[in-house]
């Protein structure tokens, strides 16, 4: 990825993004979608339902929450709230990612392209954006996002069709790929404050899960994340006044 700094056209950045996507998050996402397809089959969804979820939701943790709760027979309102809570991260992900992309005339609609924001594309864009010229970042994001999104449907279909014959020793690694991907990406987070937030949120999440399993994510994110920020803010103020 030495070419990142020298790219200066939208199309060049788009192509580089696609390439980065293919070598980076795409294989992981494909594996995750295959695992999701297998799960969808197991809970009795049709292949059309399974692929529609991947295409229109395109958020693996939310998708998994959705089909698991459906299979448990929970109410529509409970499922919607749980999925909405699982997806709150997209707001902060978009808010941290999109301001780094300057607006240009006749750019592809952000209200459409925002659908491509996912853990896969976000992690790589957050890592690579600081190394790039700001005017080509949108192309890079679209490249990574589009290639990953386009792979979501075939991945789901493959997983769905395979699942009848796939034994448990293939299902387990497929189900484990997504959490492991998230965990390993954390080692590439460079800002100490964000590292602290991951650790504090993670540990708090485990504790809160025992007491408020349905709200653990929101409490850990909003509550503990804010506490970490406030602690850092107080530290900075103290240093400033000294």
């Amino acid at each position: 990825m030495t070419k990142l700094e020298s790219i200066d056209t939208f199309l060049g950045a788009f192509k580089l993004g696609m390439k980065a996507g293919l070598y980076g998050p795409a294989p992981v996402l494909l594996a995750g979608m295959i695992g999701f397809g297998a799960m969808s089959h197991a809970v009795g969804l049709s292949v059309v339902q399974a692929t529609s979820i991947s295409f229109f939701m395109y958020a693996l943790p939310g998708q998994i929450v959705f089909i698991e709760m459906m299979s448990m027979g929970l109410s529509a309102s409970a499922i919607s709230i749980a999925v909405a809570l699982t997806s709150t991260r997209f707001l902060t992900m978009v808010l941290t990612l999109f301001p780094q992309i300057p607006k240009v005339k006749n750019e592809p609609s952000r209200l459409l392209s925002v659908h491509l924001v996912a853990m896969s594309s976000w992690t790589f864009c957050m890592r690579d954006f600081p190394k790039m010229k700001s005017e080509v970042r949108y192309g890079y994001f679209l490249g990574i996002g589009l290639i990953c999104w386009l792979l979501a449907v075939p991945g789901t279909v493959i997983g769905y069709e395979l699942s009848e014959s796939v034994p448990i020793w293939i299902t387990w690694p497929l189900l484990f790929v997504n959490p492991l991907f998230f965990l390993l990406s954390f080692t590439e987070v460079l800002i100490p404050l964000n590292r602290l937030a991951i650790l504090a949120g993670g540990v708090a999440g485990i504790i809160f899960y025992y007491f408020f399993p349905e709200n653990a994510l929101l409490i850990s994110g909003l509550g503990v994340g804010s506490l970490v920020y406030l602690w850092d803010y107080a530290q900075r103020r103290r240093k400033l006044s000294q």
């Binding site: 499922i79 492991l180 994510l217 850990s220």
Partner: protein, 118 residues
């Protein structure tokens, strides 16, 4: 809330589907609409980063330690050991993401083979 549930039998699965799709898109769309008003270097940006990372951290730890589906059949000790080995590979040996993931997947596969055939 009850009105949503009472509509469920009429519309069935696709009704819930539309709801969860909208619930997912809502946050993405809202992000686009208010993105311009949030300064990248400002305090709000720092706060949002903390909230995002804390939330994704909680989600990840939850998925590993308390998975809802079949992954729960894998011993929790083995799941933690696998994660630790992969993390050590990434940090101590300056490993790359894909090899790290393959390492973890192979360890899960080995566990599955052991349970299935031994």
């Amino acid at each position: 809330m009850n009105s949503i549930d009472s509509l469920l039998p009429q519309f069935g699965w696709w009704w819930i589907f539309i709801f969860v799709v909208l619930a997912t898109y809502f946050w993405r769309g809202l992000g686009v609409l208010i993105a311009g008003h949030v300064s990248q270097d400002g305090e709000i940006f720092k706060w949002l980063s903390c909230v995002t990372y804390a939330l994704v951290g909680a989600l990840t730890f939850k998925l590993i330690l308390f998975p809802i589906g079949q992954l729960g059949e894998v011993s929790i000790t083995y799941r933690i050991v696998t994660c630790c080995i992969c993390l050590i590979y990434m940090i101590r040996f300056k490993g790359r993401l894909i090899p790290g993931l393959i390492l973890g997947s192979l360890m899960m596969m080995a566990y599955g083979l052991y349970i299935s055939y031994l």
